[in-house]
Amino acid sequence: MPTFNIIQAVNDALRTEMKCDDRVIILGEDVGKFGGVFRATQGLLTEFGPDRVFDTPLAENGIVGSAIGMALYGLRPVPEIQFVDFIYPAFDQIVNEAAKMRYRSGGQYTCPMVIRAPCGGGIRGGHYHSQSPEAYFIHTAGLKVVMPSNPYDAKGLLIASIRDNNPIIFLEPKRLYRAVKGEVPEGEYIIELGKATVARAGKDITIVTYGAMVHVTLEAAEKAAQENQISVEVIDLRTLLPYDIDTVIASVKKTGRAVIVHEAPRTCGFGAELAATISERAFLHLQAPILRVTGFDTPVPYVFEPEYLPNEKRIRKALRDSMDF
């Protein structure tokens, strides 16, 4: 079985689906000959030709808007937005068109498409190459939102997303692109959307997280186990919407304590939704308030990025605060 990083896993998923479904096409800036600025689409133009992989003019609303048209016509577009920070010109198309197409037409029209975009910080990208805007999309009825944390999940989730009949925002944590490697089966396989995974089993406290924070959290959990004898259960959501409420609640009912970790800013981040829902469904099981370790409510800074992003120290402080409550 090959060992891939996330870029290779994404590339493999795209290739696998393009081979078995000729409706799948890729469009975006620099995706053709260049293979994408992160090389996610490398080799695909050569293999499938310019009718299935092509560069667009520099216009995110054009990329998404025309992809919507192609999806209406019966294709399965997988447009790439170069950095999710640049998705906003396409926000109207995503929110008002793609997300509402099925609902507003009484089910006559659907919009099966997967918008891929690198997200998150950790590469010294400053305000405009580091954002985590998943909350805007989770908050928009009609979209699914997916964020893998490792190569195995990335391939399985991307294939599942391409086969899904809904518009999907597929966010790829860029700082993990080459940093995480793992065994990835050849050929096709899917990871069902809407299913979380327990990345680390534990009994004292539950951490719910996703994306790059899964790895930071696992490190913090390991330290907490060794140095403080705290047994931490880490849940990697994988799909942010619809999220796996059953796995989350079962874990919190078992441990009685919950901490949510995400890079995105605190106020109205996805953690707020998770905290509210956990509180509604597991209140009597909770031994402590639900805590959130998040990015601060500022644009992602350049020099102080390491202090901005949730790190092991801040996660361990939250674990302490919860255990000591």
Binding site: F34, D55, F86, P89, H127, E227, F296, L319
Partner: protein, 366 residues
Amino acid sequence: MSEELVRILGSDGKVLKGQKVPSISGKDLIRLYRLMLLNRRIDERMITLQRQGRIGFYVASIGEEASIIGSAFALKAKDWIIPCYRELGAALLRGFSLHEFCCQLFGNAEDQIKGRQMPNHYASFKLRFGSISSPVGNQIPHATGIGMAARLRGTQDVALVYFGDGATSEGDFHVALNFAGVYKAATIFLCRNNQWAISVPSKVQTASPSFAVKATAYNIEGVQVDGNDIFAVYAVTRKAVDRARQGKGPTLIEAVTYRQGGHTTSDDPRVYRDDKEVEEWKKKDPISRFKSYLIGNGAWSEKKDAGLEQDIKKEIDAAVKRAEKIGPPSIDTMFEDVLDSVPWHLEEQREELRTILESEVAQPKI
């Protein structure tokens, strides 16, 4: 609009037949040459610094100096320059200091931007040089707005906005020119057609025969100019600036030039383009032809040039050395300027971070 590419100075440094050099003082000619060379040498030095890991990132404008400096020279000090992220030459012309620039690259305690943004994302209110962001084209409607406000207030100020060929594909380009046409905004739109948007060549951006011709759709003036010809760039920009100042409306200038290097230090153009093409364009380099012209006219010499190169090197060395020694800003600044005052939730987050950092110093265990 005229179909012709405006040219005055040929690649060989000789004035083309039938063309006249615009009226620029001898002192200013040398000043412009010095700025172009300074711009070039800064770019080369900062790329090296990035490769050495001393700065994290850099955006150069190698090959485009004439299109940027020649146009900025046509403005008055009160006029506004709205950059994208590739116009250091315009900032230098305005008086942006090498020290300020280096501080922003290092993100140190004297950086006006307080270490918040990637290198090359500076701003200067006092120089009327707009704040730089990364998204492509966002700045173009801002320049329309400035041009509209100037007319509303009757000040005769104008705004000059820069963007690349890729940016003309963004929706913001369309709305900015459309509004500017409707309101006769005092705005000059300068498209640096440097042929490439990362790996995408300009022919993918549009089916139009040029970028300048797009002005027709908005019923504004449009002109295409040799962007590597400092005289032609200055002349067409000056004409556009004068028109705008007189309330006669906006102009779209397409400066045909070439991005000799990569998109940024994160790019390797050898993957998608031929070195032969780069070599061809180097023969049309804006600085070498201007140097030839000045020497040919007795206004300059190889000896003076060598002296200038030395002065520039000393200046850059000193600025880098000085800026690199300065430490980072105070971390408290991370929570300022989100709003005009720090709201309660940010004050709490600042306190939370302070506690964490202090506990790191004291190093207690959980």
